[in-house]
Symmetry: C2
Subunit: 322 residues, 2 copies
């Protein structure tokens, strides 16, 4: 297992050198732009790491890693249209920099290219790779739709929320790892354990995202604190608060939810979060999924020092401040 | 080779029985709706026919045929957003019946499902199928972007137009046939010939579309005659007219192009089409590509009576009135 920075460099080179296509430039320039915006490149790095973990050469997993990253960016390009989002990683979104039709088409092509890259993998298990990739892609779309449904849904249950983030965020982390494992020729049970490890880490990762949005340091996250509160977003925190509040506070909360975005609204909801120990609740949930992830990891047959690297990375993701 | 109606029935049953997914219904209802709108089902039927042509059982090609039709409908769902189109086959478009985010996501999922269906094909040549399918998908997206570019492009050359319709329309007809041929185990050269046959027929098919838009019978096409003229769409007819007009008529034409949609505008351009024999020019071009298609067909090693069925169908497509 190599250090994160080395994997990052490898995947960035692959992204830079990838041939997405040339003509018409109106279609390919947005794709190159989107792929060059950077980021942690977490998902493709998981693919490379998993390949090394199971004793193979991560170089073999580069096409699959590229497929995962291109797919992830395809979802971002389309999500930004749906969310009418002006910025992505501090730069204009494809949708804003070009226009809606270009963003739809460029996204479509990225999805197609992702499958192309996946098919470049030199493996006798290609069909397994494609099936996993496609199932995951479908689940990510389902998760996005369920998340949109939440906006108009009166009540959202904990399990529904966990199911939504599992589909929208967590399965892709699991699949990224499993793809690397399959390329390395891991056993079916190891491939399954690492998928579950990634999925449960992903759920914890998303809960940390919710916590950071309300309790993070805006100077570190680069986002306005309380953005989810301002938008009445049904995060795990708000769902739990809605279930916990006593009668009197319920009235206060209902009033706050009706308010437009303001400091008063954000501070009001934060005060209720504190009163009902919502952060503590979310931290506990996060820990529960992280513990599940550790259990999955413990079942994997691989070098302990390599597994340790994955564990440390998961801890970093879960405790991250940004 | 069976009669068209039998293939149509088979593909409609497959479409009806296909499992696109269940939850959330907000995502899958639009997909089922779109797939149930009907149509000629030309592309999947080509896949089935090609499989029979090469002596196999078209039943084996049903998953690939389904993939082609789901893919084609995915492009329509996204095109309708880009074109802000209210109607599709006389019914509300997904985009209008639901909304834009749902239409984007439902389209994305249809693209993913198309690959899923393709992978269900029982064939040792699956990788060839996927590569062909993905290359074609990419080309269709490129064609759509080039078509959008034409809207703001001052001058479009004949070759550019033919290249655009080749990508946007014709390659999918070629690929639909070639997929069926590959499933049937056709030789590489036969697979290539039938691809070219489909592609050239597709170009002729699209030119016929342009002709019908200006010279068709609205009561048969179900479209307003002159829709392309009203929208200044750079069809083969307008491109040829722009290259042919003499100086004085050029001024008249420029004025007509500046006019908003009106009978005066449509009749004015039609008069110039007549004066410069533009319809005759288009018919000739169409015939050129149809002759190429026949040449391709003649090279295929298959039963003459089966090839005759394909030829008759191509003639019908080219001479169709709607």
């Amino acid at each position: 297992m190599k250090p994160y920075s080395e994997y990052l460099q490898r995947i960035n080179t692959a992204i830079e050198q990838a041939n997405y296509g040339q003509y018409p430039d109106e279609l390919y320039a947005p794709i190159r732009y989107m792929m060059s915006l950077g980021g942690k490149r977490l998902r493709p790095i998981l693919t490379l790491m998993a390949c090394d973990l199971f004793g193979s050469d991560s170089e073999k997993a580069v096409p699959a890693a590229l497929a995962v990253e291109v797919f992830h960016n395809f979802t971002l390009v389309h999500d930004d249209i749906m969310d009418n989002a002006p910025l992505r990683r501090g730069k204009e979104t494809v949708y804003k920099k070009w226009n809606m039709p270009v963003a739809i088409l460029a996204g479509d092509l990225m999805m197609i290219k992702a499958t192309d890259f996946l098919c470049e993998t030199d493996t006798p298990r290609l069909k397994e790779l494609i099936t996993l990739f496609n199932t995951t892609a479908r689940e990510v779309c389902e998760g996005q739709q369920i998340d949109m449904n939440f906006e108009t849904q009166n009540q959202v249950k904990h399990e529904e929320y966990i199911h939504m983030i599992t589909l929208k965020t967590a399965v892709l982390l699991g699949a990224a790892l499993k793809l690397g494992a399959l390329v390395a020729g891991a056993s079916d049970s190891d491939a399954e354990h690492i998928y579950e490890f990634g999925k449960n880490t992903g759920i914890a990762f998303q809960i940390q995202d919710d916590i950071l949005d309300s309790f993070g340091d805006g100077s570190l996250t680069g986002k306005k604190v309380g953005g989810d509160i301002a938008a009445n977003k049904k995060t795990l925190l708000l769902i739990e608060l809605l279930e916990s509040v006593h009668k009197d506070d319920k009235k206060v909360l209902d009033e706050l939810l009706k308010m437009p975005d303001s400091d008063e609204k954000i501070q009001g909801v934060l005060a209720l979060y504190t009163k009902y120990q919502i952060r503590e609740f979310a931290e506990l949930k996060k820990q529960t999924y992280f513990n599940l992830a550790l259990k999955n990891l413990s079942k994997i047959q691989a070098k302990p020092e390599s597994k340790q690297v994955l564990e440390s990375m998961a801890i970093n993701l879960m405790e991250r401040l940004s």
